[in-house]
């Protein structure tokens, strides 16, 4: 239907405005005019409704929301004595937090509006070009059917992307903005206002008092992410190989035993592990009863041991997943290749090293990268197992096992320093984004996509 007969060369919008008829010109002010003029009523109505709706909102709320973004509020909440009641009565003030959030929402809405405006102009130009070429303008039915064909991606993606815009990008922009304000425990809304402070929070985290916490926590985060990913992967593969050893019976039973642990929700297994590993927990009690040890092993209360415990517990959680996946890969391996290698006198280790393992690694690479990023942001394991403890007198608001992400959580929930937390959030993001963009551009799955 719509072969690209109008080519890639479109006329500019300026030309369009000059050459177009009244309806076309009107489209620059009143969206959808050209559509109305050419009987695309549904389309026209949508454009018009969007414009009217937008301006209605803009005049009513939008201007205020955008204006307030500059100062984040000026009127403080206060209490005024009411003689009739004999008590103070609340006088509402500005809430900086909401002003910031809705200010950003207003910007996004404006962006959506601009996009719609451009779509409107394009539609106008399209009509103009079609008419200039002497062809009939698309009917509503034709438009609809193009949504299932040329523009099928719009049909599929519009709603999900709107969801992303308002439930991911908007909160994200809000979070990033907070890093540039003084929203901390002395500027808590609703009573107090906070305002823009520029880059000073970044300075505090990287060079100021927080630096002595930030860098050790960062390095532990990286160590943890590497160990957690590597151990789970490596031992998972070994477990899969063990189960798939020739001659081992009840393969399915073994697998099911380990799969059980994937199915138990993490917060349960971690809380239980916390209990088991406690100084007074069953494991210590058991070892004491057997006479293996005389004093409890401080699994979770000694800084070094706690770190080891965390990695081991994480193996308990992570190994079965890798096992399951690599089993799938091993079963699909090219048996001929392996047999050929055996014929050539390669032993098991050599086969593993040069055939099985590279193949597994190749397939699992994307998921390994994802796991690594996931581990940098692995909140559950630390939060539920040690809560960041044992405490460390050298840190600000963090314990010995806190990752950046749990430290961030502490800063928001316990000390309510949202601005610092946000800076850390941004730093975590830069860290993982750089790594993953680098990794993905170096793996096959991205190149082909």
């Amino acid at each position: 239907m719509f072969k690209k007969s109008y080519g890639e060369q479109h006329i500019t919008y300026r030309e369009l405005f000059k050459k177009g008829d009244l309806a076309t010109k009107l489209s620059f002010i009143i969206m959808g005019s050209a559509n109305f003029a050419n009987k695309q009523f549904v389309k026209g109505c949508i454009f018009l409704a969007v414009e009217v709706g937008f301006f209605a909102w803009f005049i009513q709320n939008g201007i205020h929301a955008l204006g307030m973004l500059q100062t984040l509020g000026t009127k403080k909440q206060g209490l005024h004595y009411d003689a009739n009641l004999g008590i103070d009565v609340l006088q509402k003030g500005d809430n900086s937090m909401l002003l910031l959030l809705f200010g950003i929402a207003a910007i996004l809405l404006c962006v959506v509006m601009i996009v719609m405006y451009i779509v409107n102009l394009r539609s106008t130009r399209h009509i103009y070009e079609v008419k200039a070429a002497g062809e009939p303008v698309a009917t509503f039915k034709q438009d609809m059917s193009s949504l299932l064909n040329e523009r099928f991606h719009m049909t599929l993606m519009t709603i999900p992307l709107l969801g992303v815009l308002f439930f991911t990008i908007l909160p994200l922009l809000y979070m990033i903005s907070i890093a540039f304000t003084n929203y901390d425990h002395v500027h808590l809304p609703p009573k107090n206002l906070f305002t823009w402070v520029g880059f000073s929070n970044f300075g505090n985290v990287i060079t100021g008092d927080m630096a002595s916490t930030f860098f050790p926590v960062l390095s532990w985060t990286l160590i943890w992410a590497v160990f957690a990913t590597v151990t789970c992967f490596f031992f998972g593969v070994i477990l899969a190989l063990l189960i798939n050893t020739k001659g081992i019976k009840f393969k399915k039973m073994w697998r099911t035993i380990f799969v059980l642990t994937i199915a138990v929700p993490q917060f349960i297994s971690l809380l239980v592990m916390h209990n088991l590993l406690n100084d007074a927990g069953p494991i210590n009690a058991l070892l004491k009863n057997w006479g293996v040890i005389s004093t409890s092993i401080p699994f979770l209360t000694d800084p070094t041991l706690a770190k080891i415990s965390i990695i081991v517990v994480n193996m308990w959680i992570g190994i079965p997943t890798t096992m399951l996946i690599s089993t799938g890969i091993i079963q699909n391996l090219d048996q001929e290749q392996i047999e050929a290698a055996e014929m050539d006198g390669a032993n098991k280790l050599q086969i593993f090293k040069s055939i099985t393992f590279p193949q597994i690694l190749f397939v699992m690479m994307p998921s390994l990268i994802q796991q690594f990023i996931g581990n940098i942001n692995n909140f559950n394991v630390i939060f539920l197992l040690t809560g960041g403890g044992p405490s460390n007198s050298n840190y600000y608001g963090a314990g010995s096992t806190d990752l950046l992400v749990t430290w961030l959580y502490n800063l928001t929930v316990n000390t309510m320093d949202y601005n610092l937390a946000s800076v850390i959030g941004i730093l975590i993001f830069i860290l993982s984004a750089v790594f993953s963009l680098w990794a993905y551009t170096h793996t096959n799955s991205y190149k082909e996509g």
Partner: protein, 287 residues
């Protein structure tokens, strides 16, 4: 020659024995915490900490407390149904959204495709905690807080960015299939529904499985949205709320009973579906 073969056989038997031994030990380690949860859920004495593993007295009381909601503060059955409803709906919606996104980004060609791929990759990397409060207020502006609808919405909205595995899968379906269908006059909608989807059962099941399991596990985000509305909690928030400082000791056994109750259906589901789980993850990368 014969001796060598015998030797070889013995060696093989030895390795097999060794493998069995390792597997048995590992199984014990892996099953120990699970068995402990189950045992504790039947324990009648003590609190969160007892210095032994086998309970001294067995009881069904812990289950009874949960299922009859004896205290009036922990309506477990209601939580279970809530979670089931949320999981079902968000499973349907998320699967649809994920598959739609993945398909569009894998099979269709349009201008914004590459940028969207990159942006989506990066967007996934922000730690969510800071944005939770923001999301709460966005939901509040829509007048949706403290409702199961809000949970479904949140879980499904997140699905739009979790398309990477499914995209990998679609990438493996040969383009030639689409092209021949196109020559036969099919439009893209028809190709999607008639050709691609029937081929994609593993990835659809995988996506659905993951989406279904999510609501059973999430406790922090869900708690912020549900606030004090105990009746509409999901099991994860509910069980976690039982572990607050003042109640952790006295309710510990009921907590483990609750864990057993939610672990059973999920475990069965997972064991039943594990084939798809493996296919889902691996198929995307095997070219």
């Amino acid at each position: 020659m014969e001796a060598k073969a015998k030797n070889y056989k013995a060696k093989k038997r030895n390795t097999r024995f060794l493998v069995y031994a390792i597997l048995t030990i590992m199984s014990i380690i892996w099953l120990f915490p699970i068995v402990w949860i189950v045992l504790t859920s039947f324990r009648s004495e003590g609190g969160a900490f007892v210095p032994y593993i086998m309970p001294k007295d067995f009881t069904l009381n812990n289950y009874k407390i949960l299922l009859t909601d004896a205290t009036g503060n922990f309506p477990f059955v209601r939580w279970f149904l809530n979670t089931f409803v949320v999981a079902t709906f968000s499973c349907l919606l998320s699967t649809f959204i994920t598959i739609a996104m993945a398909y569009a980004l894998s099979r269709l060609r349009f201008k914004m495709r590459r940028p969207i791929l990159k942006i989506a990759l990066v967007l996934n990397m922000f730690p969510g905690f800071m944005s939770m409060i923001a999301v709460y207020y966005i939901l509040k502006a829509l007048d949706l807080t403290q409702s199961l609808v809000a949970l479904v919405l949140i879980y499904s909205a997140g699905a739009a960015l979790g398309f990477y595995v499914a995209k990998g899968f679609f990438d493996t379906i040969p383009m030639a299939l689409d092209e021949s269908a196109m020559i036969d006059g099919a439009n893209k909608w028809q190709i999607f529904t008639k050709i691609t989807l029937p081929l994609s059962k593993p990835i659809i099941v995988y996506t659905a499985l993951m989406a279904f399991m999510g609501p059973w596990m999430d406790f922090i985000f869900a708690k912020i949205i549900m606030g004090d509305d105990v009746k509409d909690y999901t099991v994860a928030i509910g069980l976690y709320s039982m572990m607050s400082k003042t109640t952790a000791n006295s309710l510990f056994m009921s907590f483990t009973a609750g864990c057993v109750l939610i672990a059973i259906p999920i475990t069965l589901l997972f064991i039943y579906m594990q084939k798809y789980y493996v296919e889902g993850i691996t198929s995307g990368s095997v070219k």
